[in-house]
Symmetry: none
Subunit: 401 residues, 2 copies
């Protein structure tokens, strides 16, 4: 029995409400000039007060040293083993533009590319055509039907699109047509296992059809497909935790990830305040809320220490809207660290705070990486956060008699 099966067996519904606030890229590294991390630099009295009330610690999203992408980082926060529950690239790309996949669907990432009269690739990105051109060409390819499989084509940005194959018996275990280099023809897509033969055949026929449809659209006169992936069939959060969960996120990627584990997705605005307002509006109707704040990560990715500090202060200022709802269990953490001095996602453990009537508080008074080192949670795996949240919400019964 793995951990989720155990939780599924002992989870129960209860009136208690859980709010999981994910501050994307929350953890940081000290600014060499001051020796202080973004969290230590920011004035965040509300977060500090929560640290004093709650139990604190640090969590590894995947394992020590492993830097997670957004997919594995969030799956771990939702309690899923992020290694065995990996999400394919095509699905992640689809999810990132808010496409709702159905069971059995296969998604692939696509590029418009340029081929010469001999069919040899001369530009894998078709000169980075405009978003408008991309949308126009996607419309040309969209709705193709081959042997009972409907193929939907969605623009992403510039030369990039997503193709979704919808039909029976589509197994995504196929190779890519993108040779990752110019000077050669697109590769034939082949099945890596016998049952994937149907998808390989349809994908090749789709590529041929695209070539014909695009012939007069130089430089975007061919397509390349890669990252074929079927919609994963995870147990939903309803099944595992018996929760009625709602996701609130400005960016489509996070709404999509939440949908993959069964969450309902709220309509919300483009701002932090909008997200908190959405939480308040929906608070009565759900018992679990995943609230995702993106801008800390963006600032970290941009190596903008000061902006990351400012976003943290904005979050802190908005927090009373959330705490005013008095959730029975409040979890504040991130999906990974994005230290501004590192300029990208990193492997560093992420601060995690759990506030509840039963959390067994510790002596931590500051919301920061060094302060959380001494926290009562110690250093945990991110997959352990959901069981702890559930327990604090009295939503887990005893294991064994």
């Amino acid at each position: 029995m793995n951990n989720l099966e155990l939780i599924k067996e002992i989870s129960i519904t209860s009136p208690e409400k859980i709010v999981l606030l994910v501050i994307d890229g929350l953890g940081g590294l000290p600014d060499p000039k001051t020796g202080k991390t973004e969290l230590e630099t920011a004035r965040i009295p509300n977060l500090d007060a929560l640290a004093a009330r709650g139990i604190c610690g640090l969590s590894d999203p995947i394992a020590p040293g492993i830097t997670p992408g957004s997919g594995p980082g969030h799956l771990a926060l939702f309690g899923y083993d992020p290694i065995s529950c990996n999400i394919g690239r095509g699905v992640l790309e689809a999810v990132g533009i808010d496409i709702e996949l159905k069971p059995g669907d296969v998604a692939a990432r696509g590029n418009f590319c340029t081929v010469n009269e001999k069919g040899i690739i001369t530009d894998r990105r078709a000169g980075r055509i405009s978003n408008e051109k991309c949308a126009e060409l996607c419309q040309l390819l969209d709705g193709t039907s081959i042997d009972g499989v409907d193929i939907k084509v969605y623009p992403v940005r510039e030369h990039r699109f997503v193709a979704v194959f919808h039909g029976d018996n589509l197994i995504a275990n196929v190779t890519e047509s993108d040779p990752s280099q110019t000077g050669v023809a697109p590769l034939k897509i082949t099945a890596l296992s016998p049952e994937a033969g149907r998808l390989a055949d349809i994908a090749n026929r789709f590529a041929a059809k695209a070539k014909a449809l695009l012939s007069s659209h130089h430089p975007a006169n061919m397509i390349l497909l890669r990252g074929f992936a079927g919609k994963p069939s995870f147990l939903t959060m309803q099944e595992i935790y018996k929760l009625n969960p709602l996701a609130i996120a400005v960016y489509p990627m996070y709404r999509g990830l939440a949908r993959l584990v069964g969450m309902k997705v709220a309509r919300t605005g483009d701002t932090l305040e909008g997200e908190f307002a959405t939480l308040k509006e929906n608070y009565k109707n759900y018992d679990f809320f995943f609230l995702h704040v993106k801008w800390t990560d963006t600032a970290g990715e941009d190596s903008d220490f000061a902006r990351k500090v400012k976003v943290l202060e904005q979050i802190d200022a908005a927090l009373p809207i959330l705490t005013g709802l008095e959730p029975d269990v409040l979890v504040i953490t991130g999906d990974h660290s994005t230290p501004a001095i590192f300029g990208g996602h990193s492997w560093h453990p992420v601060p995690v705070l759990i506030c509840s009537k039963y959390c067994r508080t510790d002596s931590v008074k500051k919301f920061s990486e060094p302060a959380f080192l001494a926290g009562g949670l110690g250093r945990i795996s991110a997959t352990q956060i959901m069981p702890l949240a559930m327990a604090n919400a009295r939503k887990l019964t005893k294991f064994g008699a």
Copy 2:
């Protein structure tokens, strides 16, 4: 997917250099008279300064309570699961005398013993013959060839030797001929699975031939064989980490362990200073260095607290040669604890320090077991040290998108 497979998938080469300094038997226990461990007693200003700069913690070589031998202790440090990647006794004995095994080779530990005229063992150690006698008798047996299998015989010490069987289809799944008692005849070696029949047959014929060759060499007139083991086929560190690794070690056992995971082995002297000089000479040509210092363990095994303290001070004094090279990532740890008051390897967690630009330092200022308890690494498994070193050297890409 296990952890090494994950690392293999996301590892990349980078110009950054990693130095892994293994101080054998590093961890200790307090001297009851002073209440201080060997590390707390030693004056080690350079190690203390590194503790202040780096991130510190304690690691379990295998699992809490498990005392490792040198083999599992080092495999764990190299990132291999020391339980599933166990090295057979024969191989460890061969490795311990610097024998380079080839794929398919099987090694066994051997004893010269005494049998009476009825073939009954009267002394399992042949009166502990001299090293010289052992070497002479090994020469007598060495180079035997049976059914296409060449058998090399290497002296170890006193009555002990190593036999290496080299040929096709040798599967080491066989019983031993050593009955572990006197008053009985050597046991017939039998196959524990059908495919091991060939090795069992050849080993029995080798024992019979040895009996004939040794008949006039009483008391060493027979051999006993045990610990048959094939050369393990681990993924190499080159394959997993894409590193170009060099091992520097005075004692053959550690050079051998490094070879088993694919490291190149440097020629070095017999002293600590010699080892550091070898590191300096080879620094340009590799990106990973395993530097092994033995004498802390020897002192601990000898229950010599003061000598272990002195060796720690010697290491500390030599450290500037290493730190002067400014490795991007410096890891200092041990393969296990060998507390002098315990007089042997122990299960106690081992201090571990990682220094790098991105290590996220903690408040630890002293290099010692109690100080490291508050370190930012917390308590980790020894197998997590390599992923952390790789991450700090920016040699691991993101897992998942």
